[in-house]
């Protein structure tokens, strides 16, 4: 957990941040009572730099950089333990996801580069095959993050049990998939 922080300077707070997040996520987190239930149940709070409720608070305070740069938003696997416990029914994982995509869009240095890299690798796999090819994702992920030997024995065990397919299973109509990954303007080009 992050302990000592820079003091919050009122003049530097971003008063549009909360509005932005609300607009992008469609979640009204102004309902938040700050009861902290979300953080108490979170199975991953040990791996986060801020508790989930702290992130909601940062949004309300307008601490844009701090909220977009923390690792919490990436560590969240959207198991919805928090939103199930939330007395105000706030879709907290949706807020976390929104913050992730906003962080990318605003070029804020990511709080968990390894997780971002994993997501990108999985997306590349879907873009290539239309489906997630686990062996490919894992090999590339280990290559990029330089952790070749971590989990090597596990990988071999899984291969031996035929849990990792060597060849990806593929979508036939790949043009439909590729089109989803292509920005509109590219399709206008001759």
């Amino acid at each position: 957990m992050a302990g000592t922080e820079d003091p919050i300077k009122i003049g530097e707070l971003d008063r549009y941040f909360a509005e932005d997040v609300k607009h992008h996520s469609g979640v009204d987190f102004n309902r938040c009572l700050f009861c902290r239930s979300c953080g108490n149940g979170c199975p991953f709070d040990q791996a986060m730099d801020y508790h989930p409720y702290a992130v909601l608070r940062m949004i309300q305070y307008g601490l844009r950089q701090r909220a977009l740069g923390c690792s919490t938003i990436w560590v969240c696997v959207s198991c919805h333990t928090c939103s199930s416990q939330c007395p105000m029914s706030i879709d907290i994982p949706a807020v976390m996801h929104t913050l992730c995509s906003m962080a990318l869009e605003e070029h804020v240095p990511t709080g968990a580069p390894d997780i971002l890299e994993f997501h990108l690798e999985a997306l590349r796999s879907i873009e290539r095959h239309g489906r997630a090819h686990k062996l490919g994702i894992m090999l590339r992920h280990k290559l990029i993050t330089g952790q070749w030997f971590k989990d090597m024995d596990l990988g071999l065990k899984m291969l031996a049990k035929r849990k990792l397919d060597l060849l990806p299973s593929r979508v036939q109509a790949m043009e439909e998939i590729i089109r989803l990954f292509t920005p509109d303007w590219k399709t206008y080009l001759p």
Binding site: F44, T81, I115
Partner: protein, 285 residues
């Protein structure tokens, strides 16, 4: 009394069930055959987007899920096994029902209609709604003496938007108890298995998984049963305890009780071999 009028479903397996957890798929097919469910796999289905797409680009996630829905014939329910795929498909369907403009534009793009009335059901929902008699009639191996932890992980939680919809994932206990097994509920049933963090942050997930398996051991269970292929994998590969417990896909146990014979193929793929346990309980020869 043995009324096995075939029931028609379209079927979306999803990436995990189709590849890493083939045993789950095979046993599901077997169970469905015994229950008289006819599954027709969607043609040319794609990934539902899962966490990566919905974290990086939620719009892409929605589009991927929408394409799957566009492949489903409107006249029969779409059956889904993976709880996470079910979430994403139902969320996408909800939006397609409400947002006529988006639905029309996607229909135009793919040249296929997307039915707003399409029924999306989880396998357990189909079993509970249509199957009690079929289950009863199909029971060939009584699961008596098998003490299982019904491990749900995050599958019972759902986004607030889906809170009004009916979910049947918690029926694992009722179905398996009806087939003779004994549920051991005093364990960490609802602790998340770690999902994709298993690949990126193994240490975090190992702690969680050891807590879960440890609690099941303390509670005196023989094994864990889960409906989610990702949970099954994480619980097996990330457990570092001395005493490990076998983790079953729900469909495996169900198919076994319904008399399936080709279980060798499924169980050989488990990292924690469940065969000694099943032999000890006289469930397999």
């Amino acid at each position: 009394m043995n009324d096995l009028t075939p029931l028609e479903f379209s079927y979306f397996p999803g990436c995990s069930v189709a590849t890493t957890a083939t045993e789950s798929n095979q046993s599901l097919m077997k169970a469905c055959q015994r229950l008289g469910f006819h599954l027709k796999e969607l043609e040319d289905w794609n990934c539902c987007g899962s966490s990566p797409a919905n974290t990086i680009d939620p719009e892409l996630g929605f589009n991927l899920a929408a394409r799957i829905l566009s492949l489903a014939p409107p006249d029969k329910p779409l059956l889904i096994m993976c709880p996470r795929c079910l979430h994403y498909l139902r969320l996408a369907h909800l939006r397609l029902q409400e947002d006529l403009y988006t639905r029309r534009s996607l229909e135009r793009r793919w040249g296929r209609p997307i039915s707003p009335e399409l029924e999306i059901v989880h396998f357990l929902e189909a079993v509970v709604k249509l199957g009690p008699d079929r289950l009863h009639n199909g029971l060939t191996r009584n699961l008596k003496g098998l003490k299982f932890v019904p491990y749900y992980g995050c599958t019972l939680n759902r986004p607030p938007a889906l809170r009004r919809q009916k979910y049947f994932q918690a029926e694992v206990v009722n179905i398996l108890t009806a087939l003779g097994a004994e549920a051991v509920p005093r364990a960490l049933l609802y602790r998340c298995c770690g999902s994709f963090l298993s690949a990126v942050r193994p240490k975090v997930v190992t702690t969680l998984v050891n807590q879960i398996i440890g609690s099941a051991v303390t509670a005196g269970a023989d094994c864990l049963v889960t409906v989610c292929a990702m949970c099954q994998l994480n619980l097996e590969i990330r457990c570092t305890l001395e005493k490990k417990l076998p983790v079953f896909h729900f469909s495996e146990i169900l198919a076994l009780a319904l008399g399936a014979q080709d279980y060798e193929d499924w169980f050989a793929r488990h990292l924690v071999d469940p065969r000694p346990l099943l032999t000890a309980r006289n469930l397999i020869g």
